[in-house]
Symmetry: D2
Subunit: 407 residues, 4 copies
Amino acid sequence: MLSETIELRGHIIDSLILPKVLDEIITHGGSFKITEIKIGENRADQSFARIEVRGPSAAALDDLILRLRQHGAEVVEKKSVQLAAAPADGVFPQEFYTTTNQQTFVRLDDGEIEVQPALMDCAIVVDRTARKATATKFCGVKKGMEIVVGHKGIRVIPQQRSISRKDAFEFMAGNVSIEKPKSVVIREIAREFKRAREEKGKILVVAGPAVVHTGAAEHLEKLIEQGYVNLLFTGNGLAVHDIENALYGTSLGVQLEEGEVAEKGRENYMRAINVIRGAGGIRAAVASGLLTSGIMYTCVKHGVDFVLAGSIRDDGPLPDVITDALNAQEAMQAKIGGVTIALMMGTMLHSIAVANLLPATVKMLCVDINPGVVAKLADRGTFQAVGLVTDLEPFLRELAGCIESDR
Amino acid sequence: MLSETIELRGHIIDSLILPKVLDEIITHGGSFKITEIKIGENRADQSFARIEVRGPSAAALDDLILRLRQHGAEVVEKKSVQLAAAPADGVFPQEFYTTTNQQTFVRLDDGEIEVQPALMDCAIVVDRTARKATATKFCGVKKGMEIVVGHKGIRVIPQQRSISRKDAFEFMAGNVSIEKPKSVVIREIAREFKRAREEKGKILVVAGPAVVHTGAAEHLEKLIEQGYVNLLFTGNGLAVHDIENALYGTSLGVQLEEGEVAEKGRENYMRAINVIRGAGGIRAAVASGLLTSGIMYTCVKHGVDFVLAGSIRDDGPLPDVITDALNAQEAMQAKIGGVTIALMMGTMLHSIAVANLLPATVKMLCVDINPGVVAKLADRGTFQAVGLVTDLEPFLRELAGCIESDR
Amino acid sequence: MLSETIELRGHIIDSLILPKVLDEIITHGGSFKITEIKIGENRADQSFARIEVRGPSAAALDDLILRLRQHGAEVVEKKSVQLAAAPADGVFPQEFYTTTNQQTFVRLDDGEIEVQPALMDCAIVVDRTARKATATKFCGVKKGMEIVVGHKGIRVIPQQRSISRKDAFEFMAGNVSIEKPKSVVIREIAREFKRAREEKGKILVVAGPAVVHTGAAEHLEKLIEQGYVNLLFTGNGLAVHDIENALYGTSLGVQLEEGEVAEKGRENYMRAINVIRGAGGIRAAVASGLLTSGIMYTCVKHGVDFVLAGSIRDDGPLPDVITDALNAQEAMQAKIGGVTIALMMGTMLHSIAVANLLPATVKMLCVDINPGVVAKLADRGTFQAVGLVTDLEPFLRELAGCIESDR
Amino acid sequence: MLSETIELRGHIIDSLILPKVLDEIITHGGSFKITEIKIGENRADQSFARIEVRGPSAAALDDLILRLRQHGAEVVEKKSVQLAAAPADGVFPQEFYTTTNQQTFVRLDDGEIEVQPALMDCAIVVDRTARKATATKFCGVKKGMEIVVGHKGIRVIPQQRSISRKDAFEFMAGNVSIEKPKSVVIREIAREFKRAREEKGKILVVAGPAVVHTGAAEHLEKLIEQGYVNLLFTGNGLAVHDIENALYGTSLGVQLEEGEVAEKGRENYMRAINVIRGAGGIRAAVASGLLTSGIMYTCVKHGVDFVLAGSIRDDGPLPDVITDALNAQEAMQAKIGGVTIALMMGTMLHSIAVANLLPATVKMLCVDINPGVVAKLADRGTFQAVGLVTDLEPFLRELAGCIESDR
């Protein structure tokens, strides 16, 4: 049996880090001896544990240590990362290390460098001269770049539960229950939004067309007008339905205002696309006075940046849509810096795409009437993702109301 | 090939009756010849068709005619119903006719008698002397009673679509879409509620505990106070959670008011049951001043009648709960007369139980956040059932708001 | 600040007991000092912690200790339970202690007595003379019985995770994912079934009518024939549809065998009820040769005991149905002793009712195509409940196949 | 009141065309007089109706006639289509006619030209010289092309129900019930597959990664090997998970074969992408012997054409993925000719994208465990879309079994 000694620091008991580490050791065929443990007397105190980890073979022990690092385990004897050259453009060396979205450091020679940005599913490109470590997607890699392989010399700082209980995102973490009093939760979220704005954090909204179909556009517009949306990521669907509604008062042919509820088919939808194509894009249509209301109009008027990412089910699309998936990912990635809250509503595709780009420190709130969508998004193993199963229109109405009444 | 001639009358084209009848004939191996057809020139006009139906054997033709009667087909040559005696208490004669919840007549000697009530899944007990025909459940039958067998001499009047398009229940029939602007629909429903009250129709609410869990109780109380609920059918669950909330401010241990969102477990829930058991029941607890708020309290104060029907998952239960399923069905059946609208929220068990007791003329609105529940209830093949997939709390809030603002 | 000292024993780290206890203390406004901690070196070793718990007032400390006891905390200074007399038949004294379904002991004078059975949502009736402590539902209590109040002198042994990882129920605990390779899971379950039979544990099946609708009856019959079902809890629905299928080859009018897929309406369903009512019950119908196949027939033939619990949506019902909810609960409770695995399929009502009667030691497997139902049942905070979101027919087919092939 | 006379031909009663037409007239404020009606005596006979339609204004009547044309109404007085020039590349003239996916003819001078292909959400580009009418998407239009505007001179042939009842797709049209005996349905589908192959129709499979996650890949491979898949449309997700499974035996880190069910995280997934990127693509990886099993391998080996359409949530992606949405739509459109059955499994995004490209004559079968997805796809108002709510693995296992056993 080979062994290695690891150390854990922080709120390792109540953030469940110690139990998870012991669990991993046993589950993967290892055994352990806790050689030292110091548990914080009260919540604010940090705890510490030194554990001797044993595995049946060098490979198994290596594999095990790799897993424990994801939980923040630090190997006592410090080693530098191993690097290998990328064999071709867009291809990583074989044993490349895959990043998580947690804060990560690599040890190079005597010091540690933080990997930037905290982006999942990347390899780490190391520039020895500049002493920089960059999380890089497949398309960003060039032949010969030096890339981290294996797992030595890597330290991950898992997101730890905060000490105060005041934070709605922690309290409700992973909660997707349908039968909950949502008013209380929505008031908490309104408070988080205000706190974010006070602290100059950016609020990102990711939204699908259901925001328009359910008649919730006006509430989202209010949030934009009051400065509670700094960035909107959506697709062709929401934009077209919003513009259809602005131009003709219908959404997929259904009239949203009082009066006759009449099915009008897809004509207005297709015509809305044609009008914006004719104008040369959304901003041009606003500038020329063609588009005078709606979510997209309000974004333009209030200088809220947006990305419309394309999909294969798009009609048209509008000229503003980025139809190439990689370009769209890059466009979103480029704008995501400084975001502290991401509100995702009514779209699984865009929400997952964006969640894959966010660091673990961003608070994610996913709202959908379909419990399956909420569960998929909220269940990302962090204390920072909250799911709410509810109808979009009343959710946004109440959120906008809370924010307004509290001013 | 044997044949029989049937006649259809009413809005047989646009209520889809004629297409369904022709479909049934072909599907079941028959053939037809339309010997006369007169189609109303405009919507208000009734249409008429006389059809010669052919079948390969007497039994097949009989079976076919039985089906066509469910769509309102009338056999030209009029025959009396056939009767047989019940062989034992609680047992029907072998070939008993099973009722639907549509208006039905039986021909006895020279005249027709209407079957009362329009209740599904019953046999028809005929009292020749009193010339009465009664839809009777298994438990109501006594040995020797005369019961309709076969299908001769029965005429069913299927619910036909109304001529005016103003009616929300018809327009949305069977609609369970999630992505719809619900505000418009809720305003329509508020209008139906007002119309019902003006026309002295009773409004029945069937509700599950989610009404309390989601924080919607106060909105339901408003509807009760304003006279828009004449009857409440629910179970032990809603009543206990409502009383737990009234006594301790929690629902299943979750505090519903602003402030700390804290899990308190099941103590309050169990204590609420014990308090009402000690008091001798809900009405006694209101009378003695123990219970001073909540849905059940408001019902008692405003003289709204209620039935609490038991289920095998009940805790306690409260003394007011009818624990025997047959007694509970009878209690509901006894109060259902005069109901014109049934609003069903957050309970599949009670909703199906009640739907089985309602005549086809009652308008049913089913609201649930689970599309499966809504689909099951709304899909009853009538023009009178509407499903709405949404969250209960905002639904009730908006409905109560619409009714109030419009006064 | 007042303080009390508690002790925790067992797998308190990897069963998450210590983290949960510390969490509860902080969350409820207390603070702690860990005065001694000994963590097992490897998984089989038990751990131990002694913690000084401090609270702001005697009442708050009392409340806090009560919560910690649910996690197995033992107060170092031992006290006897407090008892009070029931004020009336069916009513508990005000501050009654509410049981969980975990193993529980009460301290009386110098010794401890185990509460029997391990049944949730009961009060504990103590018979000092016989030194017996009985978990008793509301209806079981008589005026003057001595009942535990407050929380002193109670010790709860929470279900701890087992040491070996071989157990499918632990591994998948709470798992309701749709996108999982179910074949692997089903093979594990088949092994659990075999193990249960070898160890003379009883297997309880709780099933809803979807077992018949989906064409899965034959697979359930195979399990019964091979001795893998010791007890069947179901309702009127499954029994009638099963008998309809046995007598007429249809389920709710849909033919289950190859050939024409034809809707036949509710006649066969109603006739099936009538036939069994005429015969005097299921067993009588089997004895007289009327009923010669199906699930209910196979139960009778193989001496498998069943309970048919009534509900308010039942038609008929069959004479075998216990229509009173309390009587049905009692009938199920009376037969539940010795059950080690409960397989729940296609019924939320019966599954929750039965789950409420089971001790925490019983392994529960809930199978349904609706993720909401599975989540509700699997999420009971134990390591022993497993949820599987899948279609009933292929699930039962594969389970029966695994059991057969492995013999 | 202005009037116009229309004619309807075909199975206008039992395909519900006449009722729908009368309904549209009334609903949109018109009125009608049936001046002639001839109803086929038996099912094979065609019916005929001549109807005088009246509207309150020329615009309203025009609008109404447009709607009636979608149901196949033909205006008695024949007119040529109106054409207008496209104002710019990628922009249609203002009043452009939007196509459906039904067979459509335009009248030009004295004759009629069929619009090719039958593709929805397009404009119709007319080439007078070549006498060709082409359904064209936004991106296909060039400045100056002549495009149909208004609705005159257009004739739509709605898909009519076939006379025989043998066809599973018609029988189950729109059926999404969970509680159905699926074995019967699957046998019908197997027959449709065989019929398609005999009649040289192409079978298109659209599949999401759940096919691999649920362990169903081997069944899909069998269908491919036996020649029952002519075309596979999917995305990066399925391909990567399939290749991960082929290379490492896991899907998203979960082992699919018997043995330990262990979570291995995302390493294998990322490594699989890297391997194929290194090889230069799927076909190259097969050719070089790197990839020797799985769905993608089987497609390559059996010459089954595939399109991998990109999305913004893709990792990697594989070199074979078409990352631009418009290019991906075009690639799919280019291969779709000759498809008679489309089987869609476990992907809403790709299924909707493909459904938008299919003519109304293609039979669509949508299989998903989520009833919402099935409902959205099956509810396209045709007799040709069937939905099945079930688990993918047993569905494909049984389908492959039926096809094999029947040979």
